[in-house]
């Protein structure tokens, strides 16, 4: 369960996030849709406690991101797009194990979990090889395993498919759908309407730091006479600019 309450962030004079509020229930996939620079990454960084809010707060499974940032962080797994952010000189196993240890797991637990994830993601051939020479798809699988090694209840995805080829995109999509089936709480940020339509239950449209619409996909379509999500997005953003 994620509860975001009037969350805001200012960088000197720039107000990147202007007091947004929304809730994501257990088992729900919340799509955070917005153009580049709309405030999606800042919102996710605030929830991950990498950035401190200027005002407002959020609760992750009841843990306040300001009062109890370490426990709040313990609830989440995060997967970023673009570069996978792995240690090239470590093996895939060492990369995953490191993040397991940093999330408070013991070695036995980690070993079991890595066995499970290796099997699930088909990493058996390369789990003990150094990551440096892996393909993008292989790296993405390792990054996925790293993000869920501690089996978090909440998953944050920050444009996880950006810069990936079709096969790698498919790996990520299947991974998200699988997590949804497991009843995880998910926020998925994207600027791709198609991805949001495919994966999300609820969508929040963010523009210039403001949440201009929050609705379930079905209600959104009904509200705008079954218009295409892309058209709805353009209309909402256009109205907001006016």
């Amino acid at each position: 369960m994620i509860e975001v309450l009037n969350l805001g962030k200012k960088f000197k004079e720039v107000e990147a996030v202007k007091g947004i509020s929304f809730n994501v229930s257990k088992g729900e996939v919340f799509g955070l849709l917005g153009e580049n620079g709309a405030g999606k990454t800042t919102t996710l960084r605030l929830l991950a406690t990498i950035l401190k809010p200027t005002f407002g707060t959020a609760g992750l499974n009841g843990y306040d991101i300001i009062k109890d940032p370490e426990r709040a962080r313990g609830q989440i797994g995060i997967l970023f797009g673009g570069e996978t952010g792995l240690y090239d000189r470590l093996t895939a196993r060492e990369n995953i194990e490191y993040f397991g240890l940093l999330n408070g797991m013991d070695k036995r637990e980690i070993r079991k979990r890595i066995e499970f994830l290796t099997e699930k993601l088909g990493m058996g051939e390369y789990i003990d090889r150094r990551v440096g020479k892996f393909s993008k798809g292989m790296k993405q699988k390792v990054a996925i395993a790293r993000s869920i090694v501690h089996d978090p209840d909440i998953m944050l995805f920050d444009e996880p498919t950006s810069g990936l080829d079709v096969t790698a995109i498919n790996i990520v999509h299947e991974f998200i759908l699988d997590l949804k089936q497991q009843g995880k709480t998910i926020i998925f940020s994207s600027h791709s309407m198609k991805e949001v339509e495919k994966l999300c239950d609820t969508v929040g449209i963010i523009h210039k730091g403001k949440m201009i619409e929050i609705s379930s996909l079905t209600l959104l379509m009904q509200k705008y006479n079954n218009m295409d999500l892309e058209d709805i997005f353009i209309k909402l953003v256009g109205d907001s600019n006016a």
Binding site: F11, R45, A48, T49, I50, L51, K52, E70, R71, R73, G74, I76, I78, F80, G82, E83, T84, G85, L86, Y87, D88, R89, L90, E94, Y98, F99, L101, L102, N103, G104, R146, S147
Partner: protein, 390 residues
């Protein structure tokens, strides 16, 4: 907290020493630099020694035959080159000097007057400059022969010209000069390496982490930032100590190869070793922290290298300033100047001076430096504008 510091430290050590670049800059270069320097300086020195042993090529300008010309012709240390344009030959260094003998040289000498000789040489050329004193000495020898003849004619002994008989006796042990060189070189390179040895690791652990985009996932784990920072900090400190030990190994090899350049290793008392070790680690603790702070501030690897290069240059200044400092006469003010105070304590320890006031004062200063450096680093690591500068 300790558990997480240990996890981060272990991982960073593994990652750092799997990096060939770090191994090269932190271990191989420090080991090789002094032996290579000793071989290079050694070969340069032997070329000069070889040149000094050869007869000097000179041109002689003399309108007539005279005693000096005959003397120079017969001298084994001189090789007279016949050239039509002696000045051009000197420019091209075909001759190292030109000796111009006065037309009336013999006549003047025979009359008991001064015989005039001009020596032309090129002060900007090392070979020509070296030839000049040798040539002067040979001509002076000729002069002494004439003087001796004149004295004989007057019925006097050569010794009449001697007033004082100077005998030089060195009280130093056999390797006295070697020890001076050793006590000059050791504090200099130990302090430099203690301060800059952690730079490759710091660059990788701060800016490198940003460039690889591994920092953000790391900050989303349960671990607090202080544990992450301390784990990284100790990795840089250990890398700095390893680099210092590697350079010490290289230095010992160099002293075996070329003792006249790097000095002779003397067996140091345990007190001296402990004091040197303590203060070098103090320097490493201070500089590792600052290097990590600078590295976190940098946007990427290249920027970190640009910012960290001046640290090496800054370190060279106090190291060279105190190179000739006598360990037995260090001014009190020196114990309050950053870096210079550590070098001063090492210099004192090398001459077996263990002044508790000096040691206490410098230790307090070092603790202050470490505290300030760590405060700066923690502040940097917690600053969003630093972590997300790019």
């Amino acid at each position: 907290m300790l558990k997480y510091i240990w996890i981060v430290f272990k991982k960073e050590m593994k990652d750092t020493f799997r990096d060939r670049k770090t191994i090269f800059t932190s271990i191989i270069i420090p080991i090789l630099i002094f032996p290579i320097l000793s071989l290079a300086l050694g070969s340069g020195a032997s070329e000069i020694i070889e040149e000094g042993a050869k007869p000097i090529d000179i041109a002689v300008i003399s309108e007539n035959d005279n005693g000096l010309l005959k003397y120079l012709n017969a001298h084994q240390g001189i090789n007279i080159i016949n050239t039509d344009e002696p000045e051009k030959s000197l420019e091209k260094l075909e001759v190292k000097a030109i000796v111009k003998i006065d037309k009336y040289f013999d006549e003047k000498v025979n009359k008991g007057e001064f015989g005039t000789v001009e020596i032309m040489y090129d002060e900007s050329s090392q070979k020509s400059s070296m030839a000049y004193p040798k040539l002067k000495s040979i001509i002076n020898d000729y002069s002494k022969i004439i003087v001796s003849k004149r004295l004989k004619e007057l019925g006097a002994d050569n010794n009449i010209l001697k007033v004082v008989d100077i005998k030089a006796i060195s009280v130093a042990k056999e390797d006295g000069f070697g020890i001076i060189m050793f006590s000059m070189m050791l504090p200099m390179f130990l302090t430099i390496w203690s301060a800059v040895g952690g730079i490759p690791a710091a660059t990788d652990l701060g800016a490198g982490e940003k460039e690889r985009q591994t920092l953000e996932p790391l900050l989303t784990t349960k671990v607090n930032r202080i544990s992450l920072l301390i784990g990284k900090y100790f990795t840089v400190v250990v890398a700095g100590i390893i680099a210092t030990l590697a350079s010490l190994t290289g230095f010992i090899i160099a002293t075996k190869l070329k003792a006249d350049l790097f000095g002779t290793i003397s067996t140091l008392p345990i007190n001296t070793i402990l004091i040197i070790g303590l203060f070098c680690i103090g320097l490493t603790l201070t500089f590792s922290s600052l290097e990590l702070a600078i590295s976190f501030y940098a946007r990427n690897f290249k920027e970190a290298q640009t910012y960290l290069t001046p640290v090496t240059i800054i370190m060279l200044i106090p190291a060279y300033l105190t190179m000739y400092l006598d360990g037995k006469a260090i001014p009190n003010a020196y114990f309050h100047i950053p870096v210079i105070n550590v070098i001063s304590i090492i210099k004192e320890a090398l001459v077996s001076i263990y002044n508790p006031v000096h040691i206490g004062v410098v230790l307090i200063w070092v603790i202050i430096y470490i505290s300030i450096a760590l405060m700066v680093t923690v502040k940097m690591f917690n600053k969003e504008t630093v972590i997300f500068r790019n």
